[in-house]
Symmetry: C2
Subunit: 132 residues, 2 copies
DNA sequence: ATAAATTTGTTATATTATAACAATGCGTAA
DNA sequence: TTACGCATTGTTATAATATAACAAATTTAT
């Protein structure tokens, strides 16, 4: 049988904890270094945990940064519709949860008639702090 | 003086040509291999050309694939608003140019009042061919 | 309990990208 | 013209990101 959908292995819990504590997106190798004391020794262990956590919607990957953030939305158990706000100056990343936006994108249909089951949107600009 | 904005160096022309000819997104190292006959020998030469072409809006990077596509929109000279349609099965990528979508995203404002000068959107699904 | 299947650990290596510095070209002011 | 400063290009080396392949351990099905 395949792994139960709501169960996290030890490694997955450790990795998730680190990412949830972090105030900014974490890189895979920085996660690796900070969990080496806890018994995770090699990249595949981290990447497997990351893959699984992504599938569960517990974390998201910021593609433009190759970094990972915890999903702030408690009820989010799928990872098929994500939008982020990224500051070009301080690199702050926040997840955007805007029902209008989600609805607009989920229903978007292009000229070819192709329909989508997943999207990722990354906005870049200067955050309030950095604009001052 | 800084490089003229509408002038492409030899390496930039070569790299652009390869990407324009390709029917699918190209990876940096696959570009490198195919241009070695033409005198480009090392990664930094390719990456510099790619960076410049991106800034000029001649090509775009598909972040989820670390691959590069030519901009189909002739008049596109900036690279600050991109949207792509990506087939999960055949990996086909096409640029979406939908004025409504662009307008919607360009004007999007989140709760924090942060304003954006750039966005990248990637849609995933099955293309017509693969859905059959 | 044992075989089959899945998950986890481990080693090695592939892939993607950039730092650092040298060589070359290019504009300009003496 | 030449020599100086500055930007661009070439080159070597290496950093950063990610996965293949297989072994060991654990779980599941019978």
């Amino acid at each position: 049988m395949t792994q139960k959908i709501d169960f996290l292995s030890k490694n997955q819990q450790i990795v998730l904890e680190i990412i949830e504590k972090a105030k900014e997106p974490l890189k895979a190798y920085s996660i690796l270094f900070s969990v080496q004391k806890r018994g995770i020794k090699a990249p595949p262990q981290v990447y497997r945990a990351l893959d699984r956590l992504i599938k569960l919607g517990k974390i998201h990957k910021i593609e433009s940064k190759n970094a990972f953030v915890a999903c702030k939305n408690d009820s989010c158990t799928i990872s098929n519709a994500t939008a982020f706000s990224i500051c070009d100056s301080c690199e702050m990343v926040t997840e955007i949860s805007n029902p209008k936006l989600s609805k607009y994108l989920a229903n978007f249909q292009d000229e070819t008639g192709m329909r989508y089951n997943k999207y990722n949107l990354e906005f870049f600009g200067l955050c309030k702090k950095c604009k001052k």
